[in-house]
Structure formats: C-alpha cells, structure tokens
C-alpha cells in the first residue's frame, strides 16, 4: 500500500534538495560542516598509509645492515656524513663504487660522479638560500641532480648523496651490494603507542559530536515540514524515513564535499614540515577499510542522529510535540557512561599496564571514549540543574538569556558539548604527554662548562695526525678549548672481551681521570665497579688495532672521571704516546671535546666546516645537559594546534546554530527593538546565552580532562603531574571561541533587529 522504504528515503533526499534559498543554505551549511568532519576523518584514515609509505621508502634505502668483506664488481663503499646546519638535520652519504654494477640508492638514477652530489629539493633550496655560505663551503660538491621522491622520507627532507673518495679501509665505512631491508623497523615505543591511541580517540570524538551537531541544523523547520507531511497522510514510519532521507542528503553531500576538501588539502600537505616530518601528498591515501568505514558511517551517523532527534519529538499531523523537557532530567543514566569508562580503565590502575597488548589499547580507547561521552550526557543535566537555580534577576539581557536557556537547556547543552569534549580531551592528552615528558627528560650528567660540542673521527688517524687535527680545531674561530683523545679497543687475547684504549697527553688524560702525577711514558688503568667486566691488569697482553701489546707493569690504577659528555671511562687503559710508541703510529679513533665561545653564534657551524675539511666522515654533535625526547615538545605543540583546529570546527557549527536560532526569532527581536529595547541589551543576551552554557561546560571538561590524564599517567606507573599553563591555555581557547562566535553572529543579529524585521510574510 505504501511505497517502499528506498523510495521514501529517495523522496526525503529530494525534499532536502528542494529548499529554495533558505533550504539550500541550510543544506550547504550541514554539508560543509559534515564535509569538514569528513576531511578530517579522511586525513586520520590516511595516517596508516602515510606511515607505511614512509616506512617503505625508508626501509628501501636502509644502508646499515651490510658490511661485506670483499670488494666486487657490484660493491659500493658508503660513508655516513650526516650533518646539521642551523638546527636543520641533513642526511648525507658518500658513495664510492667499486665496480660497474655497484648498487644505486633509491631516488637516484646513477651514482654521483667525482666531485658531484645529488641533493633533495629541500636541501637544494637551503643551499641556494642567502645565509647558507657556511653550508655551501662545507658541502663543497657540484650539484649534479636531485634525489627523487622515492629516495626521501618526505618532501621536506634535507639529504644528499656525494661522491666518495678513498673510502676503502676507513673505519665507519661500509661495503654493500644492495640497499634496503626486508624486515620492518622497530615500532613506536609502547607509551607513545598508547599516546597515539588516546590522541586519535580524543581528536576524533569532537569530530563525531560535530558531525552530529551539523546534522541538526535547521531542525525546527524540518519538524514543521514533517508535520505537514504527517497531515497529508505520512505515518510515523514514513516520516522517519523522510527525515532519514533528508539527513542522508546532507551526509552524502558532506561526504562529497569532504572528499573534495581532503583532496584539495592534500596538495598543500607537502609544504609543511612538522616535528621534522614531512609527508608526500601522494602518500596521504586513506586506507581502504577506513575509507569504506567513513563512507558508510558518516551517512549512517547522519541518519541515526536525525532519527534519534525525532525520537524525542512526536511529529503529529497538527504539529510537533516535544517529549523532552517534561520532568526533570535524570542523573543516574547520565552517570552510566562515565562510570562504565572508569570501570574499563580501573583494572589498569593496578600497576603498569601491559601497554603492548591490543586488548589494553582497546580497553584504554574504549574507556576514554566512554568518559568523554560522559561529558556529553552529563552536560544537559548540569546545565539544567544550574540554570534552574539561576534567577532572572540582574539586567534585562541576563534575564532574557537565562529564561531562554531555561526554556530549552538541552539545545544550549548540545551547543557546548562539542567544546566541552574537545577541551576535556585536549586537557587529558596534555596532562598525559606532559607527564610522560617529565619522566623522559633525563639528566645526562654532562658538564657544559667544560665542553659544548664533541667531534669524532672513526676512520683512523695516527697520534701525530690527531694532534694536528686538534690544532686545526683550536685555530677555528669561536673555539675556546679542545681536548682530544685517540681511542681504540684493546682486545684481550684468547678472550671475547674488549676494553677501551685511550691515548693522550697527560693534559688530555687528566680530563678523563683523576691523575695526580703523570709524565710521558706513564700508563694508567681506571678502576671499575663490581658490575663491570673484568678490568685490565698491568702486564696483560692485549691486541690493539691488530698489534699485540703488553700493558706496562707500571700502569697505576686511577679513578675515572666523567668526561664532558657525562660518560665515564671505567676499566679503560689510558696511555701516553710514549708508553706505546708502536700504537701511536696506528690508525686510532679521534674523539674531541670542544669548548665554544658563546658570543660567536656560528661557532658550531664553523667547527662543522673544519670537521668537513678534515674529513667528510668526521662527525660533530652537541652535548646536552638534559636529553629530551624532543618528540614530546612537538606532540604538545601538535595537540594545541589540533585542539584549536577542532575548536574552530566546532565554532562554525555553533555559529550556524546561533544564526539558525536568531533567524527563527527574527520577529521577536524586531518587536523587542520596536518596543525600545536597546540593541546592546539583546546582543549581550546572545553572548550570555552562549557564555553561560560554555562556562558550565568548561568546568567539568577541565575536571574530567585532568582526571582522565592523571588516570592514564597512573596507569603507566608515572608520577601525577598537572600542567597548569597548558590547562589554562586550552580552557581560554574554549572561552575565546564563544566570544568569536558571538562577534561573528553580530552582523546578522543587528540586521535582524531592524524594525523592518517586523514585516513577515
């Protein structure tokens, strides 16, 4: 008798598209909002591919797994010449083919010829930029070509492949006949993994809420429309399908807009480098299962939400009867969600969670979702409970606002639930990250007053050469002090044991051990603790750089001191060159500690250039007092950026809802103005109307967010830690949003308040 569901659904879609200017505006608003959410979801869905594409490229160029003994037609000598310039990390490799079939790394079509290098686009740009003179001097090769995308981890990577020269036999140089690995790299550390899980949940929850809010745009006129259809004979089931069809239209259009937004945004993505990570637009491919999920879930969500809204109203032929609002909101079921969330998280509090387990990740993710959902369910109750107690006293604007909220506290609560969840999530995440960070920051024991930079040369120099190199560094502008050691490993004969062998002048050795008396020809042994392997003994025969050598019987035990980088030599053999003249002529490793003049800003760069002159293979690195896993700083920044982005997203939905409400009250506004109510009063009423629920939303959001963050910290066995600054920053971002939305709605409001608004129909 009645047409089938698909036809009713299609009819609903048709209705949605037949809206005239207002209808189109509403549909466009919904679709754009859904589109923004979809674009965001698609981006999130691209992360797996993004990571795997990056992993694939990185593992294709892996060059540290092989070190062949024999040269051949197909072998290549490779030296690592990574450097840094003004804080930019540059990946560098020297390549020296040993035969015509030498492997070519991914991204190159041919190996660089003598004196040439291939550079990544980012490095090419950096090299040609003004102010890069020192870098140009350091990388003194002719640029012969670009490294292709397949050879880079991302479009923003700084990298070069330069022709190597006389690399054979040098320590630290590898011989390989192929690039790449078949295995996989080590994944993220489990704590970081947990962080990523929580971050995804926290970032996506507001997007879902936002989607749900977007579907409600123009709900009242839709209700009127449905009532008209009811009168004409639509039964309740048909009405629901029509409504579902209308929501579906918004959802599908939003899906299309989201796809377009995502594709457009993807082209821009290559231009940004975040946390030293840049991605190729082509890699931002949403994973198929996730894309299918989004394509199905978003329209489905639109339908489910609109049906859920309809559940609260009875669309009857004579109009719409609201079922909600009768009787007080009950608290108990609203507490179910957060309690369920806590119940999921509670077993993990016991101690360190098995953060590797997938089950645990699901448990944590689920718990976080439920707790955040709790914010959404609790908010209407809270808003109502508080607003009911608010008096109509105070100014007229306050009275108008309070009475309006009291009339429909649910929609006020809905308006801010997105903000509340975003803020709660962000605060939880920040608390967690800040907590993890406070532990990851470790004191390295370095003494920066002695040296700020280390330089090392693994390729092997004689002691004389070492002294010469030391002198060159001492002559570099900005270098105040240089301490150098020539080091090697002393192998115990017939035993699989090695101990550090350090050759230096008395002055050099004093930097690393408490030596009271020292003359050329002396030797020392640093004492060990119980944990250490067996210490060297005077008179013991060891093999150093292939030469058998006996530790002098006169070697005296001394206490090793911390070197400037914080390490301590224990169980090491310290000798003056005179004590081992044979070995002084052998190629030894050079380790330099450099003290720099803080007034020379480019001192480090100059030191790096000197190092490059000595040998491209010489490495220079800074000594840090504290070692920070600097991913965390980036993550904290990222959270803030994400939160602001989501708040802006929510802001658009709040603005749309506010404009919708204003339009519906057009006649009332105009009447009030005609009465002589000042516009400022009405404007302030709008501000209050939004500010009161937002304030009510932010307080529990901050509490739940902090609580959640602390709970996660406890779960990880980390000390609780609350970052007040970040908390305030996030909360004020939420508050700022209200002001922004009010300001943005002002022009429309002022226009609606003109007495011409009285003219209706």
């Amino acid at each position: 008798m009645s047409p089938g569901r698909p036809r009713q659904l299609a009819f609903g879609v048709w209705l949605a598209f037949r809206g005239g200017v207002t209808g189109w505006t509403r549909l466009a608003l919904t679709a754009t909002a859904v589109g923004l959410g979809v674009a965001f979801l698609l981006l999130a869905a691209s992360v797996p591919n993004l990571l795997s594409a990056r992993d694939a490229r990185e593992s294709a160029r892996v060059d540290y797994l092989q070190d062949l003994d024999r040269r051949g037609d197909d072998t290549l000598l490779l030296g690592r010449v990574d450097t840094e310039f003004h804080g930019v990390a540059i990946r560098g490799r020297l390549l020296q083919p040993e035969g015509p079939a030498a492997p070519v790394p991914p991204g190159l079509t041919a190996l660089p010829g003598p004196g040439e290098m291939m550079v990544s686009p980012a490095l090419a740009e950096l090299l040609s930029a003004p102010g890069s003179e020192l870098l140009r001097a350091r990388l003194d090769y002719r640029v012969a070509g670009r490294i292709g995308d397949e050879g880079l981890s991302g479009p923003g990577e700084f990298a070069f492949y330069a022709a190597g020269d006389r690399l054979a036999g040098k320590s630290g140089v590898q011989r390989l006949n192929a690039f790449g690995e078949t295995g996989q790299g080590d994944g993220l550390n489990p704590r970081l993994m947990l962080l990523v899980v929580v971050a995804f949940v926290v970032l996506l929850a507001p997007v879902v809420i936002f989607l749900a809010a977007a579907v409600r745009f123009g709900g009242e006129s839709r209700d009127r429309r449905l009532a008209a259809l009811r009168l004409m004979g639509a039964d309740r089931r048909m009405t629901r399908w029509y409504a579902a069809g209308e929501a579906l239209a918004g959802g599908l259009l939003g899906l299309a807009i989201g796809t377009v937004l995502f594709l457009a945004g993807r082209r821009l993505i290559g231009r940004f480098t975040l946390w030293h990570i840049s991605v190729f637009p082509a890699d931002a491919r949403p994973s198929l299962p996730l894309t299918v999920t989004i394509a199905v879930a978003v329209p489905a969500l639109a339908v489910v939400v609109s049906l859920g809204v309809l559940r609260k109203v009875a669309v009857e032929p004579l109009g719409v009867v609201r079922r909600a609002g009768q009787g007080r909101r009950r608290l108990w079921w609203r507490l179910l969600l957060p309690i369920a969330g806590l119940a999921l998280l509670a077993p993990l509090f016991g101690g360190r969670a098995d953060t590797h387990g997938q089950l645990t990740q699901v448990q944590v993710g689920g718990g976080v979702v439920l707790l955040l959902a709790g914010v959404v369910t609790l908010l209407p109750w809270l808003v109502e409970a508080v607003v009911r107690r608010l008096g109509g006293g105070g100014g007229l604007s306050w009275q108008l606002a309070v009475r309006r909220i009291q009339m429909d506290s649910a929609s006020s609560a809905r308006l801010v639930s997105g903000v509340a969840v975003a803020v709660a999530g962000a605060i939880a995440l920040q608390t967690l990250v800040a907590g993890v960070r406070s532990v990851s920051v470790q004191d390295t024991g370095a003494d920066l007053s002695r040296a700020q930079v280390m330089a090392s040369l693994d390729e092997g120099v004689t002691f004389t050469e070492a002294k010469e190199i030391t002198a060159r560094f001492a002559a570099t502008p900005g270098v105040r002090s240089v301490t150098g050691n020539a080091t090697s490993i002393a192998l115990v004969a017939d035993a699989d044991q090695g101990m550090p062998f350090i050759m230096g002048t008395c002055a050099d050795l004093r930097e690393i051990a408490e030596i009271a008396r020292c003359r050329p020809g002396d030797a020392f042994i640093t004492i060990t603790t119980e944990d250490d392997p067996e210490p060297p003994r005077p008179g013991q025969r060891v093999v150093v750089e292939g030469t058998t050598w006996t530790i002098p019987a006169t070697a005296t035990p001394v206490k090793g001191e911390r070197s400037p980088d914080g390490g301590a030599w224990r169980g090491a053999i310290l000798v003056t060159p005179e004590a081992a003249a044979d070995l002084a002529a052998k190629p030894l490793r050079l380790l330099l500690y450099l003290g720099l003049d803080p007034s020379e800003p480019d001192a480090v760069e100059l030191v790096r250039n000197t190092a490059a002159e000595v040998s491209p293979l010489m490495r220079v690195y800074g000594i840090q007092e504290v070692q920070v896993d600097d991913r965390f700083a980036g993550i904290l920044r990222g959270i803030l950026v994400g939160t602001v982005a989501i708040l802006l997203l929510i802001g658009t939905s709040m603005l749309a809802t506010t404009l919708d409400q204003l339009r519906e009250r057009r006649a009332l506004l105009a009447t009030l103005t005609a009465f002589g109510v000042r516009r400022a009063v009405l404007t302030r009423a709008t501000l209050w109307q939004m500010a009161v629920p937002v304030a009510l939303g932010l307080v529990p959001a901050a509490l739940i967010g902090t609580g959640l963050g602390l709970a996660l910290l406890v779960m990880l066995g980390l000390p609780p830690h609350v970052g007040v600054a970040n908390l305030l920053l996030t909360v004020s971002a939420g508050a700022g949003l209200v002001t922004l939305v009010t300001l943005a709605s002002l022009p429309v409001q002022l226009r609606l308040m003109r007495p011409e608004g009285l003219r209706t129909e």
């Binding site: 006129s221 004979g233 639509a234």
Partner: protein, 237 residues
C-alpha cells in the same frame, strides 16, 4: 422558505459515522458524547464558539486524534482501533485537508506542494505534477505554480491548499477555518471554488467554521457547544 438545496439523499450509507465520541485533554473535556454522520457528497458545517470542541471533532473524524471512547467508522473501517499507519494511509488516499494556514511546505513551490500527496502515494514525479497542474488550473492559480507559498497572497495560498486537498480525489475533505485568514472577497472565492469542485466529484466536506457566511456554503450544519452537538430539532424533545 424558497427552494430546497440539492442535498444528497439521506438514504445513502454514511461515509463517516461517529457515535458518542468522548475526548478529554487533561482536565478539559473537548468532546462529551458526540454523534454525527457524514454522507457522500455532503457538505457539513461544524459550527460553534472557540473552544467548543469543533476542531477536536474534526481531528477525530479525520483520524488525526484518537477519541477516548465511542464508535467511529469510515465506510467499514473502525477508526478507533486503526493503527497510526492505517489512519495515515486513509489520510493519504481518502481524505484531504485545508487548514487556516501553515499546511503548505514553505520550501516547496506551489506546484510541488500540490503534487506532494501524490508523490507520497508513489506516483511518479512527472505524472504527479501534471495532475497537480490540472488542479491549480481548476482553482485558477496556475500562475503561481512555480512560486513558493511565501511569495503568494493569502487567497492564492488557500486555493493552492484546496488544490492539494483535492488532488488525490478524496472522499472527504476536512476544512478547518479555510477562510479564517482571508478577507470576505478572497474567502468567498475560496469557498465557491471548493464547493464547486466537490459538487462535481461527490466529495463530502467537513467544514469547521465559526463564520455563518462560510457555513452558508454547507448543506447542513451541526453546532458544537461545550463538547456536545446541539440539535436544531424540536423544543420539547
């Protein structure tokens, strides 16, 4: 009295038959035992002061509101026990509605509004709009077919509403103060066109109005006061 109205024979079986309908809304009694028959092609005016229960009576007869007790049949169907879906189906195919205002969907054009009931029945869009155009023409509002209800005058809007009520060729049209928002001239036009149309198609009309000049288009009237129908029969009964 001069001339007898061309009244349908009273011998025919009633389309709608209500017996002792009662309906209360909370403490207010809207209907307090109302009985009424509506026969095919008959125009019945339901009169009475505001709040007398005349709209409630119409809503009950149309299957929009379910009475608390009593008997109510449309042809051989029991409207008291009918489900919402069954009653909705009746509204869709057998009934038409003209209200004082607000029954047109503001987002749709007048033509689309008139075609709406047909489309809900599953008629293809082309065909539905062809039939809708025919009815707009009969009600002399073809010129506003492409406009939205907000853009046309009140009189035109009501005529569009009448067209929409008649487009499904219903057996009964329920009209609730159809001229309530119109001036005399426009009200007259709407009533004249409505009665002309139903006369040709033998459609019954339940016409709720408090205006005698509108009720004058009916074949007979019933007066509702305090939820009860006043009979105009003898005094001592």
């Amino acid at each position: 009295m001069t001339g007898e109205a061309p009244r349908p024979s009273t011998g025919q079986a009633p389309l709608l038959s209500a017996r002792d309908l009662r309906k209360t809304y909370g403490p207010t009694t809207a209907l307090d035992g109302v009985s009424l028959d509506v026969r095919p092609g008959e125009i019945v005016a339901v009169m009475g002061p505001s709040g007398s229960g005349k709209s409630t009576l119409m809503h009950c007869l149309a299957g929009i509101v379910r009475p608390d007790s009593g008997e109510l049949r449309y042809r051989d169907r029991d409207l008291i026990t009918a489900s919402d879906a069954e009653r909705s189906a009746l509204r869709r195919s057998e009934f038409g509605f003209v209200f004082q205002f607000g029954q047109l969907v503001p987002e749709l054009t007048c033509l689309e509004n008139v075609a709406l009931p047909l489309r809900m029945e599953g008629v293809r869009r082309k065909e539905a709009e062809r039939r809708a155009a025919h009815w707009l023409d009969r009600l002399d509002v073809s010129d506003v077919a492409g406009q939205r209800p907000g853009q046309v005058s009140g009189g035109q809007g009501q005529r569009v509403a009448v067209a929409r009520a008649l487009v499904t060729d219903p057996a009964v049209v329920f009209a609730d103060e159809p001229t309530g928002a119109l001036d005399s001239l426009n009200g007259e036009l709407v009533m004249r066109l409505l009665t002309e149309c139903v006369e040709q198609s033998e459609t019954a009309v339940v016409l709720v109005t408090h205006e005698p000049s509108v009720a004058a288009y009916s074949h007979r009237e019933v007066v509702v006061r305090d939820g009860r129908i006043r009979t105009s029969a003898g005094l001592s009964r």
